[in-house]
Symmetry: C2
Subunit: 326 residues, 2 copies
């Protein structure tokens, strides 16, 4: 279903495989091997693909955006290495995480090196674009770190509001999607207005994506989702669903929810929390909230002055992303 | 003795105090407070000062280099935060380290944010310089990470050679001094040749500085040095002195040295290792090695086409740095 973009994906794989080959022979190997490892794990490569798609949208050959594509993928993987340390995550893309395969020190340092490299590859871009690229990319990098800090804060913070949650996912996840698209647009000499709209398109799709991810965690078909259904409920994660449920629940339901959070029987916990979500119509509310952001994204896409067929392809790609069909 | 540069130091303090004020009110405070804290600890501010001095050397107002000065100081402090985690260091500049005052997670994330901010402030530079600044700065950032990895490797690596050691300190310490100076030169529109020479001047002074630091650790007057004399010997640190001693020692002395490394009585250990260093004339060899790099640095300084009086001031500043008079 990525047929429209098949050639971009192939080009991207070629570029990233070259980078992995370089990383795997760079020294000191203790720092570079983990970088090659995590990039080599693959994943959907959504961010660098968006960069190339955006460049093409403005009718400029995607080669002009390849350095930016590498930069966003490197930065994303830096954030994965460090987030996995903070989250004490054992697995990433079904494989052992860097800090588990090596150790925390190696993970810290190879993450640092990865971020530095993300900026280094950027400087090989067209000289006329470097200032704009650096401004956007470094600002986004800061925001992603802020988002991760808010996410960490929420673990021990009581009374997280829904709007604080939206702010967190915007920073942690959505802005990098907007940035990936805008970088492609910069490389394609798109004007400021087009840049703004494609950024907002990506950012809002990113928010919708994260909200639907919260829904899927509770309501997904187990096999299709590929993760344990109810995982967020079991770990008391402050998702949109839980926060909205607290916002809308009666005093009695609040007390019930608070008690359920302490429950050690996972199966019962998932069942009873889901029952409260159902009572409060949370699935529909969350889906509608996601749709609101998707609509906003599409409004921005419409305003972009570019080839209509290409805009339509990007729209379909975004829908596939939201429906997890890619 | 910083009289020549007093006005630069004042300007720098003003700039950095402003940054600290900004950091201290930025949110999320869990990420920004540690940044404000470590920058606020002060230190000699050698790197950003070099950036301003270099800009002035080419007769351009130092305000043109202020963003670069902030960038190098931010990057340096990022590396301190993360290095202190890796080294499990309890103190930095006589104050409790970030990971001890807060925790490792906070230290990882505020370090990440600090590196991202270092690149962000850079993008506020003159647009004509951004490409060159980013290329140099990001390359240096990667090298500093590599240097830190080599330093970590050496802890468990047998048979570290003297040349591997020089390579490590070049990356970990020296290149950032060269980079700080070259960034000032870039901001002053210096030509490529002048940029190269001022970079090499800084890099070689940096290597000499580190070698003399190794000498001071063993032979310094306790009070002047401000650190425990013999600390490197006690911790079996693979310094130039120890590596050179292994290189030059007889089989018998090698066996002696290897036994001494295992000694738990610190006072005796320092005394006996120092005795072997003395037998092998290590202090003089190390000092001569440092002088070699200082001479090389001065050769590069001579080749810079700039105001002679200003070059002389920079030379004096470097000597003060090497003799720890600042």
């Amino acid at each position: 279903m990525l047929d429209n973009y098949k050639i971009f994906v192939e080009s991207l794989n070629l570029i990233l495989n070259n980078e992995v080959d370089d990383l795997n022979v760079s020294k000191p190997k203790e720092m570079y091997e983990p970088m090659g490892y995590i990039i080599g794990l693959g994943g959907k490569r959504v961010r660098p693909l968006l960069t190339l798609i955006s460049c093409d949208l403005f009718d400029i050959p995607i080669q002009n955006a390849s350095q930016s594509a590498i930069a966003v993928e490197f930065f994303h993987n830096f954030s994965l290495i460090h987030d996995d340390i903070l989250d004490k995550a054992p697995l990433r893309r079904g494989k052992i995480t860097v800090h588990e395969k090596w150790n925390n020190d190696i993970a810290i340092l190879s993450g640092d090196g990865m971020m530095a490299k993300a900026f280094y590859v950027l400087c090989k871009s067209n000289q006329n674009h470097i200032g704009d690229l650096l401004r956007l990319f470094s600002k986004t990098a800061i925001e992603v770190c802020e988002g991760q800090q808010y996410d960490m804060n929420f673990e021990s913070q009581n009374n997280v509001s829904v709007s604080e949650y939206i702010h967190m996912i915007t920073n942690k996840t959505a802005v990098l999607l907007g940035c990936s698209l805008q970088m492609g647009a910069i490389c394609a000499n798109a004007n400021t207005e087009n840049q703004l709209h494609i950024y907002e398109f990506g950012k809002n799709i990113g928010i919708a994506f994260q909200l639907l991810d919260d829904v899927l965690d509770v309501y997904a078909n187990d096999e299709k989702f590929g993760k344990q259904v109810g995982g967020d409920i079991i770990s008391n994660k402050k998702t949109f669903l839980l926060l909205k449920a607290f916002e809308l629940s009666s005093l009695e339901q609040k007390a019930q929810l608070n008690n359920l959070l302490k429950l050690s029987d996972d199966v019962t916990k998932v069942k009873l929390v889901t029952a409260i979500f159902n009572d409060l119509n949370i699935k529909q509310i969350a889906t509608e909230e996601a749709n609101k952001y998707t609509s906003l994204a599409l409004t921005h896409l419409e305003k972009i002055k570019a080839n209509d067929a290409k805009k339509e392809s990007l729209k379909q790609f975004a829908f596939q992303l939201l429906n997890r069909n890619i």
